[in-house]
């Protein structure tokens, strides 16, 4: 028996940055909002005094329990996908605040080039530059029109940073000054400058000073304690939904969050979303939550899966390359964070100190900042040196050729604990016709619903851009004076490891309903009162970390939802196809 609850204005699935921002904005505007979170209830106190590497980094305390549901994965259409069974292989955040609580805090914007990547690539290099099968498309909005949403997000989150010398236009500086510079970062920056590059401090969601955001939420100054990435912050000094948008939403009195609530379907009838069906995982009871607007703001995997399970929108078919749901799967994989590790025999660094987004970066090889005429790839990426601060299990890097165990390993791993640094490249990942999401024919969740299946393989673009990044990283590491430099090996094929938490696409935004599922307000073309917010909207993955773009998209979507509710319905954007039809 499904119990039908009282209708609300907006029901939001997910409570990370995307769901948290949408909830806060609409609750502030006076609408009744209910947010549903599959994980448990958490407060800041849950992350205070629990600096335990094994629990959080090695046993994945803050990641989804895969026992009831996971994904399956394969490389090609011909293969049988196998489930990704352990949390070593799959990291998706859970509990109130979602993956936005355990994030590192690196808060880059995507580049103007990314938003108009098709047009700008053709303009500079001609159509021939685009390889067959690459699903290159503009995002349906320009950077210039999107900039104000980045600015909103940076102010809400209190981002600490300085202008990227290569940077795009900004309406304002970051709300807080950049983080302090450790000697390792200084070394990276000096070497980069000597090579003629333009380093700057990574824009950070770890705060450089105490800050009150425009909603009146106060965030503390970062202490560089190192328990940051994969942890919740001990001090409320890392910007996350628990210290910003969720309390903001609660203060309005218009917001209710229900944790341990696992959404199984979007209820859909006569071209409209009616609400969602969810299970209270504590009792097993099923509820129907009706709403005027349904917002899917969960992780990429869940946004896609819920649309596919609810049979909303046309699923993508790789054979015909038609359909939109599940199209353009992209993300950061094991070709992404490759570079060069340097071992220093005469110098020690305080590597047990750090913060998630503490680091130096440069954009000389990002986007289309450099000429691609003679290169066999498009787009680019950031180069970074990060000082996360490693605890003792993580800091066991040894030069290549060292045995993995035994006396020599022990000796070298102890010697180099505080004597190694890594410089890496974060290349953009483009979308391809053969990389997509659909439902698995074999594997099921605890309710007997099919799991989401990922089909993903690498192309020459991926391998070439990664090799390019490894070489650039190595040159910088040489300039930094490392005694031993180990280059990363670029893998031939995707290894089905979903550890980085940055997976995107499948419900992509755009101006053409034939190639996008949502318009530039993240409103579905097919269903006016259904908005799908998050990384799932990325048509490709830019050459930087995704969070700022997801936050900005959530502000854009919130504006759209408010418009929709005020207008009393209707499409907020004109699709190209509709223009042709008229």
């Amino acid at each position: 028996m499904v119990k039908k609850l009282e209708k609300v204005d907006v029901v939001v699935v997910g409570t990370g940055w995307a769901g948290g921002i949408v909830s806060a904005e609409l609750a502030k505007a006076g609408y009744k909002v209910v947010a549903l979170e599959r994980g448990g209830n958490k407060e800041r106190e849950d992350y205070t005094g629990v600096k335990d590497e094994l629990r959080f980094t090695n046993r994945f305390e803050m990641m989804q329990n895969l026992s009831p549901e996971t994904i399956t994965s394969r490389n090609t259409l011909e293969e049988i996908a196998l489930p990704v069974r352990t949390r070593h292989e799959m990291m998706a955040g859970t509990d109130l605040g979602g993956g936005s609580v355990h994030w590192a805090g690196a808060t880059y914007r995507f580049m103007p080039y990314d938003f108009e990547i098709y047009s700008k690539t053709v303009e500079r290099y001609g159509k021939k530059k685009i390889p067959e099968g690459m699903m290159l498309q503009d995002w349906g909005i320009t950077y210039a029109d999107f900039e104000k949403y980045y600015d909103r997000f940076e102010k809400t989150a209190g981002i600490s940073g300085e202008r990227d010398p290569f940077g795009e236009e900004r309406s304002n500086d970051y709300p807080n000054p950049p983080m302090m510079e450790s000697p390792a970062i200084s070394l990276f920056k000096e070497a980069s400058k000597q090579l003629g590059y333009h380093p700057y401090q990574v824009p950070s969601g770890n705060l450089s000073q105490t800050y009150e955001n425009p909603d009146g939420e106060v965030l503390n100054q970062c202490m560089f304690c190192s328990y940051c990435t994969q942890y919740g912050c001990d001090f409320g000094a890392k910007s996350d939904p628990l210290v910003t948008v969720i309390p903001t939403a609660k203060k309005t009195g218009n917001f209710e969050v229900r944790t341990d609530s696992y959404v199984r379907r979007v209820l859909y009838e006569g071209g409209k979303a009616k609400g969602v069906l969810y299970v209270d995982t504590n009792t097993g009871l099923e509820y129907e939550q009706p709403a005027d607007v349904v917002v899917l703001a969960a992780f990429t995997f869940t946004n896609n899966r819920l649309l596919l399970l609810s049979t909303i929108g046309q699923p993508y078919n790789p054979k015909t390359r038609k359909g939109v749901i599940g199209r353009n799967f992209n993300g950061q994989f094991n070709v992404t964070f490759l570079g060069a590790r340097g071992f220093f025999n005469k110098r020690k660094f305080n590597l047990y100190m750090g913060a998630g987004a503490l680091g130096g970066a440069l954009s000389d090889f990002a986007g289309d900042n450099f000429d691609h005429t003679n290169l066999n790839f498009i787009n680019g990426g950031g180069i970074e040196l990060r000082q996360y601060g490693d605890a003792a299990i993580a800091s066991n890097h040894v030069p290549k050729g060292t045995p993995r165990w035994g006396a020599e390993f022990k000796e070298k791993s102890i010697l180099y604990t505080n004597r190694n640094l890594v410089v890496w490249y974060t290349p953009a990942i483009m979308s391809w016709w053969h990389n997509y999401l659909d439902l698995d024919p074999t594997y099921k969740d605890e309710f007997n619903d099919p799991l989401l299946r990922i089909t993903n393989k690498y192309t020459d673009q991926d391998r070439t851009i990664a090799k390019f990044g490894v070489q650039k990283s190595k040159e910088i590491m040489e300039q930094m004076g490392a005694d031993i430099i180990d280059e990363d090996v670029v893998p031939e094929e995707f290894d089905h490891i979903y550890q980085g938490g940055h997976y995107a696409g499948g419900v992509v935004m755009g101006a053409d309903p034939a190639t996008s599922a949502v318009n530039n307000y993240l409103q579905m073309w097919d269903v006016d009162n259904l908005f799908v917010v998050g990384g799932s909207a990325f048509p490709h993955f830019g050459g930087h970390h995704p969070t700022a773009t997801i936050g900005a998209l959530a502000y854009r979507a919130s504006e759209g939802i408010e418009k929709y509710l005020k207008n009393g319905g209707g499409q907020l954007a004109e699709g190209k196809r509709k223009i042709f039809q008229a």
């Binding site: 590497e53 094994l54 026992s67 970062c222 305080n350 750090g354 003792a392 066991n396 993995r404 089905h496």
Partner: protein, 276 residues
């Protein structure tokens, strides 16, 4: 518990409260109820005052491994992986075998938060010559699990604690076959040779790749050397001392720009939770 606290209030006995107080176990988070209860029961049945040395390491008892033989193989293998040397103590002195024992007894050892639904199908790319429909539920051995081939890695129906039992017992049978003696009786070099055979996947195990087992053994050995002492390894923070790792601290705002390397005394999570 079978004993009532009053039974232990004799001349030589200690009250339960006193016992807990002296041993410092009251605040210990990791000691599970069953082990805790068992220890107390045994101590009180003997009606002797435990000597100080034993009191310090009451966590050093087997929680998961029922056979001492299995545990001894584990101890020997971890010591080869992380041996005592000039840097400092090895796996045994650091309590690594007990750390692993406790991990296997808990949710991680039982794969409680992993997807463990079937079918557990063979991976086509790793085992291309075999029938693609072959199903591990029915057929058992030699399924590709963790391997360098492009495959989702953990594809066995065994949980981690079962994998350890199978793997450790295989050490003994390989040792018998190859050297005519138990694994723990073999020389260090011989033990290394066998460890390499597992690492290189040259051994056939039931339901799991030898390499997967070896990688688990390696991972947990390193974890046991360096995890917070609350889990039973990294005894007296000796692992952290070797690495000059200070343990969890409030922060380093005043040190982050410092050019010189700073050596600090070690503090554990217990210190952090007690004193901040």
């Amino acid at each position: 518990m079978t004993d009532k606290p009053s039974d232990t209030n004799g001349k030589e006995g200690l009250s339960r409260r006193q016992f807990l107080k002296n041993s410092g176990l009251v605040a210990g988070g990791v000691v599970g109820g069953s082990l805790f209860g068992g220890l107390l029961t045994n101590q009180f049945q003997k009606k002797t005052v435990p000597n100080k040395k034993d009191m310090a390491n009451l966590q050093d008892a087997r929680m998961f491994f029922s056979r001492k033989e299995d545990f001894d193989i584990l101890s020997a293998a971890t010591e080869r992986i992380f041996p005592k040397n000039d840097n400092g103590p090895g796996a045994i002195e650091l309590g690594v075998p007990y750390f692993i024992d406790k991990q296997l007894a808990g949710s991680w050892g039982m794969n409680a938060k992993d997807y463990m639904r079937g079918p557990f199908t063979q991976n086509l790319q790793a085992q291309g010559y075999q029938d693609s429909k072959r199903n591990q539920d029915n057929q058992g051995p030699n399924t590709a699990t963790q391997s360098p081939t492009p495959t989702p890695r953990y594809q066995t129906r065994l949980n981690r604690s079962e994998i350890f039992i199978i793997g450790l017992r295989k050490f003994d049978s390989v040792s018998q076959e190859k050297f005519g003696m138990k694994f723990v009786e073999a020389t260090g070099d011989q033990q290394d040779e066998m460890l390499h055979m597992f690492e290189d996947n040259k051994i056939n195990l039931t339901g799991i790749e030898a390499q997967t087992f070896f990688n688990l053994l390696l991972q947990t050995t390193i974890e046991g050397a360096y995890a917070d002492p609350l889990y039973g390894g990294n005894k007296e923070m000796m692992g952290w001392k070797m690495k000059e790792y200070p343990g969890p601290r409030m922060g380093y705002m005043n040190q982050i720009e410092e050019k010189e390397f700073i050596i600090m005394d070690q503090e554990s999570l217990k210190d952090y939770q007690t004193y901040g």
